[in-house]
Every structure is written in C-alpha cells, then in structure tokens.
C-alpha cells in the first residue's frame, strides 16, 4: 500500500498569556492509501488540532513543529499559500463535528457545495450545479432540487451532515479528515452516516482520518487506531489488536468504560481521577496521575514509544499483558 501521509514528531504549542502551552508532543503517524486511521482520546487531548495542523487551520497563536510532514511526497510544512488553498478541500477535506454550525446560515446549502467545485475545478455554474445535485443524491438526500435551494435552518442535523459529506467528497479528496462527524447526531443517524463514509471510502479509495472519542465507532470504521492522551500518542496498533490486547492502561480503561448491556445493572466503569489541564502536565508519563500501576519511575521519567509486537506501539514502562510478552 502506498503511503499517503507521513508525519514524524509533530509538536504543537500555543502561545498564551500564561506562557507556552504544549498541546501535542512528538506525535508520529502514517496514513496509507485506502486506510482509515482512527484517533481516539478524551476532549482536549489534541486529536483535532493534530489533524487541523496538516492543512494549517490552527489559530495564529499556534506553533507547529515537526521533523517531517509529507503528503504524497510533498512537504506540507514549507508549502506556499496558493498551493495550500489548492490542497485544502481538493486533496484534504474536513468534515466537522457540528453540522448545524459548520455551514453558512446565510448561504443556500447547494451554493456552498457548488462553491467547493468552483474553487477547485474549471466548470461552469451549470455543470457545478448538476454535479452538486448528483452528489447530494449519492449521499442519500432526496428531493435534491428543493434541498439545493434550502438554508441550513430548514434541514435536520443528519441531513446537514450528509450535505457536509457531499461537500467534502465532491472533489474526490485523497484524505478525508472526519472530526467527530457523528457526535452531534443521534444513534440511528450515526449508523447511516458511518455506513455512508465506509461506502465512499471503498468506492473512491479515499483515506480517512477518523477522530472520535467513541471506541465503538472506531471499531466499526478503522483499520488502525492511535490513542492519544494529553497530547501524547500513548498507543498505536491495528484496530483488532488494540481492542483485543490493549497494552496501555489508558486504552484498557477506555475499553472498560464502554457500557455493556450484557453485564446487567452493574456500575459503569470510569477511569479514576480527572483529565489534567495542559498547563499541569506531569514530568513523567502523562497518565501517571490516574494510573493504578504507576510507580516512582512513571512519575519522573517519560516512557518512550516502544514497539511491543509488530506494528503495535505503546508508551508505557509496564505494558499490560500481551500474548507475545
């Protein structure tokens, strides 16, 4: 499989009044053609900004540094402005979390999709319109002629998310960044939207970076998963391996936290402690304050990301049981 995206040692910090806040530290990941990479973590762990940094969508006080950021052999760090505008949307498209607020309320829905086409393809308005309606049908919207001329407040959340997907997919991007695309939707719609994204992934061979805090959704969608905690990548593996044999205590905790109807009315599991603020990151392992197995070593030294079996990386001194250990 071709490597589409290769990011090495990505760090992101924010300049604030209280000084430099490190939000993401030394995150590396690769995205292969046709693959779906999941990024999991609690809110504020840096999963969204990791993805946004790829096409430079961070606020101006962000400082991004990395050893490598290659997209299709092109260095994303030293790209000029016009090329960046070209990549945005055409090669790397984003679906945001809240479809209700991510579309312009003063523009017709169809116009917004058409705008995307007109920005990246040389087509007449009529062609663009036809393509828009064709795409809207493809993502499962009906009555597209009428919908084309609707405003966002006239549509439901699920419909708007379909519009967003239509917009993101219309130029057939190589990478689709889906930033918690189903968080704001109810469960039945969620299943439909996920199905739709999978289908588009198969048909158009679009690679997807799927950001979520829901391991259930990740299990459905992704081929590979990266677990993030406080800006660190704590574990990375193929989905099946990670779900069966989580090696990092945090991943284990996340898996335990998924409510299981079979267990009956037992108390739901929660990882003890709270998420730290970025400004109070511990010196050692980021998870040491909430980890049952933490030792003195964990509190003072930062564990390195080590490969415990093929393509299974974990940042922990004492990884949990693993068949090969």
């Amino acid at each position: 499989m071709n490597q589409l995206l290769d990011v090495k040692d990505l760090s992101i910090a924010f300049e604030t009044n209280e000084g430099l806040l490190k939000a993401v530290s030394n995150v590396s990941f690769q995205l292969h053609e046709n693959a779906i990479l999941g990024i999991v973590g609690e809110s504020g762990c840096g999963k969204s900004i990791t993805a946004m940094s790829l096409i430079n969508l961070l606020p101006s006080n962000a400082i991004v540094s990395s050893n490598q950021m290659l997209f299709n052999g092109m260095d994303l760090r030293s790209i000029d402005k016009n090329k960046l505008y070209e990549i945005r949307g055409k090669d790397i498209a984003i679906i945001f979390q809240e479809p209700m607020t991510s579309l312009n309320p003063l523009m017709k829905v169809g116009q917004q999709i058409t705008e995307m086409i007109r920005l990246h393809e040389n087509s007449t308005l009529k062609e663009a319109k036809q393509k828009t309606q064709w795409m809207m049908k493809k993502v499962g919207l009906s009555n597209v002629k009428k919908l084309y001329h609707s405003y966002t407040h006239e549509l439901s959340g699920g419909m708007l998310q379909r519009v967003m997907i239509a917009m993101a997919m219309i130029c057939q991007p190589k990478i689709l960044i889906a930033d918690e695309p189903t968080t704001a939707l109810d469960v039945t719609i969620q299943a439909q939207i996920l199905e739709l994204m999978k289908q588009l992934n198969k048909e158009n061979h679009t690679s997807i970076i799927f950001i979520s805090h829901d391991l259930g959704v990740i299990k459905e969608m992704c081929t590979e998963v990266m677990v993030m905690y406080l800006g660190y990548c704590v574990e990375k593996a193929d989905t099946s391996v990670l779900l069966k044999h989580p090696a990092h205590p945090y991943t284990y905790g996340l898996l335990q936290s998924i409510p299981n109807p079979k267990k009956g009315k037992s108390r739901l599991y929660a990882i003890p402690g709270r998420i730290l603020k970025l400004s109070e990151r511990p010196k050692g392992c980021p998870f040491c304050t909430r980890c049952k197995r933490a030792t003195e070593k964990c509190r003072t030294q930062l564990p390195e990301l080590q490969e415990i079996s093929t393509n299974h990386f974990v940042r922990c001194f004492y990884p949990l049981d693993h068949p090969q250990n």
Partner: protein, 270 residues
C-alpha cells in the same frame, strides 16, 4: 413564510422617505418654474395658485427651489454615505478579520476621527479646501467612516470565530472571499440601519453648512441656504422660511424613523 410584522415607525418612515424620493424624481423632469428665474415685481408673494408655496425675495418660485433643493440633499446624503460605507467596510473588515496590531492601528485612527465634532470638522475641511458641494460631501463622508467601520468590525468579530468560517477555510476559500462572501452578509442589516440614520444626519449637516454659506453655492438651491436667506424676512414672508424648515425636519425624521423601523425588524426580541 411567516408574515413579518413591521413597526408603526417603519410605516411612517417609509411614507415620508417615499414622498421625498418622489419629489426628487419629479424634479428631474418637471419644476413649475425655472429655479433661477427672477421676477422682482412678484417678490414675497403669499401662497397662491400661480405659486403654490409663494415666492422669495427675488420673486423666485419657492416650490421649484424646494424641489431642486431635494436633489441637492439626496445627492449629498447618498455620496457622503457612499464614501463612508466604502471605506468603513474596508477598514472595519480588515481590522476585524486580521485583528491584532492591524486592528489596533486602524481603530485608533477611527477613534481620532470620531474625536472631532462632525460639523466642526466639516467646517474646517471646507474652510481649508474651499467652499462647495463636492468638498462638503467629502468632509461628511470622512466623518461617517468610523461608525461604519465600527459596525463592520464588530460584526466580523462576532462571525469570524464561528465554525463555518473554519469550514470555508478548510475548503480552500481565500481570505478576501471569506471576508466578502461569508462574513459581510452577516453585517449588512446593521449597516443598512446605520445608512438610514447616517443619511439623515448628512442631510442635516449639509443644511447646516449651506446655512453658514459654506456648502452649496448660490444660485443653486439648497434647503439650508434658503433657510439662511429667508431669516431676514421672517416676519414679512413667514412661508419662505417655514417651508425649507419643514422639509429639513421631514427628511431627518423620515430617515431616522425608517432606520428605527428596520432595526426593530431585525431585533429578535420583538
């Protein structure tokens, strides 16, 4: 579609403005007499069938002069608001969109402009660069830039952090297009209100300057000038001064009520 409810003020405002606009349009094609045509034998006539609003101290028809004067008033209003709107939107959107030091510099300049009392600045401007309608319009235009800039900037500050602007960026829309196509429409409605109010104050300011003899130059008719010329004959021919006074009041009132009515429509609390 739900039917919109317009306020009482809006209706009165629109009737007055429509009436004045009607006068302007008619004056392009027809006035009862030529405005500069003097007739010393017929000076200070009371309103009669021949001269509906009477005549002035040169025997000129007041109705005709009022009609031509409305052209002047609207011309000054439109052009000065146009200048203010253009530069105000430009400055306000750049300041609001880019923020930081750019914002700081531009808005402090605007503060400096606001610090001058409007009419005083216009007086100074006209006194230095010469009397006449063009300089009057430029001066009034410059004075109205800050209010438009501030309204535009505040709208930009509100809309810029919203998700759909990020979305627009993420699909590769350029900064300029984001400013003009995605953010500006959100700011249009407060700007329309400001235009209507600003129009009223421009008409008033033009009348004031012309009254002082600095605005429109004779023999071109202007409501303010008519007012100043007529004051010497206040007792002899009261209609001569009352009529332009009424028209100035009417246009200020009309545009203010209209602005008020529009702002009431877009106020979701009502």
């Amino acid at each position: 579609m739900k039917k919109r409810k317009y306020s009482f003020n809006f209706y009165i405002g629109i009737v007055i403005v429509a009436f004045l606009l009607g006068i302007v349009i008619v004056s392009f094609f027809y006035t009862p007499y030529t405005v500069t045509q003097m007739n010393i034998g017929k000076k200070f006539l009371k309103p009669c069938w021949e001269h509906l609003l009477g005549t002035d101290h040169f025997g000129r028809d007041i109705l005709s002069r009022i009609m031509m004067g409305s052209q002047t008033a609207f011309q000054v209003g439109l052009i000065s608001i146009g200048i203010g709107l253009f530069f105000g939107i430009l400055i306000g959107s750049i300041a609001g969109y880019y923020g930081g030091i750019v914002d700081e510099i531009l808005m402090r300049i605007m503060d400096a402009v606001i610090a001058f009392p409007g009419l005083l600045f216009a007086l100074m401007f006209v006194a230095v660069l010469g009397q006449g309608i063009v300089n009057t319009m430029i001066a009034l235009g410059i004075m109205s830039i800050p209010q438009f800039a501030r309204i535009t900037r505040s709208g930009f500050l509100q809309v810029k952090p919203l998700k759909y602007i990020d979305m627009a960026k993420s699909i590769g829309v350029s900064n300029f297009r984001i400013m003009m196509v995605h953010i500006l429409p959100n700011v249009i409605s407060p700007l329309i209100v400001a235009c209507s109010m600003g129009f009223a104050s421009a008409v008033l300011a033009e009348a004031g300057l012309s009254y002082l003899g600095l605005g429109v130059q004779p023999p071109n008719p202007s409501w303010g000038r008519m007012l100043s010329e007529s004051q010497m004959y206040l007792l002899k021919a009261p209609t001569y001064s009352i009529v332009p006074g009424i028209f100035i009041t009417l246009s200020v009132l009309g545009f203010n009520l209209l602005g008020d009515g529009i702002s009431a429509i877009r106020d979701p609390r009502k």
